[in-house]
C-alpha cells in the first residue's frame, strides 16, 4: 500500500487536530482562571475541531462532504466566540475572581446595570480580586 500525498495531508491534519484538541482540554484543566481557560477552549478547541474536519474533507474528497465540513467549521467559528462571550460575561457578572496575577481590570466599576431580573438576585459580588484603581494603569 503506497502512501499518497493526500494520506500525508490527512495524517498531518488529524495529528494537529488531535493535538490542539488535547491542548484545549489541557488548557481548560491547567490554566489558572476561567477567563484564561476560555482562551484555550475557544481557540485551540475550535482549531482542533476544524483541522479534523478538514482531514475528513480531504480524506473523503466529495462535494457533499466538503459542503458539510465547511458548514461545520463555519458554524464552530461563528458560535465558539459567542459562547465564550456569554460564559465570560456571566462569569464576570457573578463575580468569578480573576487570577490573582492579572494585571488590569478596566471593566470593573463600569459594568452596565444588570437587567431587572438580575437586579434583585442574591448578594452582589462581595469582593473584588483586584485593588482599585481600575483605570488603565499597569501594575507590576
Amino acid at each position: 500500500m503506497s502512501i499518497t500525498l493526500s494520506d500525508v495531508v490527512v495524517a498531518f491534519l488529524l495529528l494537529s487536530g488531535g493535538f490542539f484538541s488535547l491542548v484545549a482540554a489541557l488548557g481548560v484543566v491547567r490554566l489558572p482562571d476561567v477567563f484564561i481557560r476560555m482562551h484555550a477552549s475557544t481557540k485551540a478547541g475550535t482549531l482542533g475541531g476544524g483541522l479534523i474536519m478538514a482531514a475528513v474533507a480531504v480524506e473523503l474528497w466529495d462535494a457533499g462532504v466538503t459542503a458539510r465540513v465547511i458548514a461545520i467549521i463555519a458554524f464552530l467559528l461563528l458560535t465558539a466566540p459567542i459562547a465564550a462571550h456569554i460564559i465570560g460575561r456571566a462569569a464576570y457578572r457573578i463575580g468569578v475572581p480573576l487570577w490573582e496575577a492579572s494585571v488590569v481590570d478596566e471593566w470593573r466599576g463600569r459594568e452596565d446595570p444588570a437587567p431587572p431580573e438580575e437586579l434583585d438576585t442574591g448578594p452582589q459580588r462581595p469582593t473584588q480580586p483586584l485593588p482599585p484603581p481600575a483605570s488603565g494603569s499597569v501594575q507590576g
Binding site: 494520506d7 484538541s21 461545520i72
Partner: protein
C-alpha cells in the same frame, strides 16, 4: 481488541494518525470531565461542557473518516448546531439566580 474497526478503508499512515488522534481526543474528553467535576465555579463547568460538545464533533469527524461514512457528518453538523444552545442555556443558568424572597437558596454548592 482491535485498534481500528475492521471496515476501515484507510491507508496505514492515516490509520496511524487516526489512532493517535483518537487517543488524544479520548484523553481530552477525560481531562475536560475532570474540569467539569472540579469546577470550582459554574462558568468553569460550562466551559468544560462547551468543550465536550466540540470534542464530540471532532470525534464524529474522526469516525466519519475512519469508516469512510459521509452520513456520519450529518450527526456532527446537528451536534455543532445545537451544542451552542446548551452552552447558552447553562451560561444563563450560571448568571441568573432566583429572586430574593421567593426562594432563599442559591446554588451554593459552587463557589462564585
Amino acid at each position: 481488541m482491535m485498534i481500528l474497526p475492521s471496515v476501515a478503508e484507510i491507508g496505514p499512515l492515516v490509520a496511524f494518525a487516526a489512532i493517535l488522534c483518537a487517543l488524544m481526543l479520548g484523553a481530552a474528553m477525560l481531562l475536560t470531565l475532570w474540569r467539569i467535576a472540579r469546577g470550582p465555579s459554574l462558568p468553569d463547568r460550562v466551559v468544560g461542557l462547551d468543550l465536550v460538545a466540540l470534542l464530540a464533533v471532532s470525534v464524529i469527524g474522526l469516525l466519519a473518516l475512519v469508516h469512510h461514512e459521509a452520513a456520519f457528518l450529518d450527526a456532527a453538523l446537528a451536534l455543532a448546531l445545537v451544542a451552542f444552545l446548551s452552552t447558552i442555556a447553562l451560561a444563563r443558568y450560571a448568571v441568573q439566580r432566583p429572586r430574593s424572597g421567593s426562594r432563599p437558596e442559591r446554588p451554593e454548592e459552587e463557589q462564585p
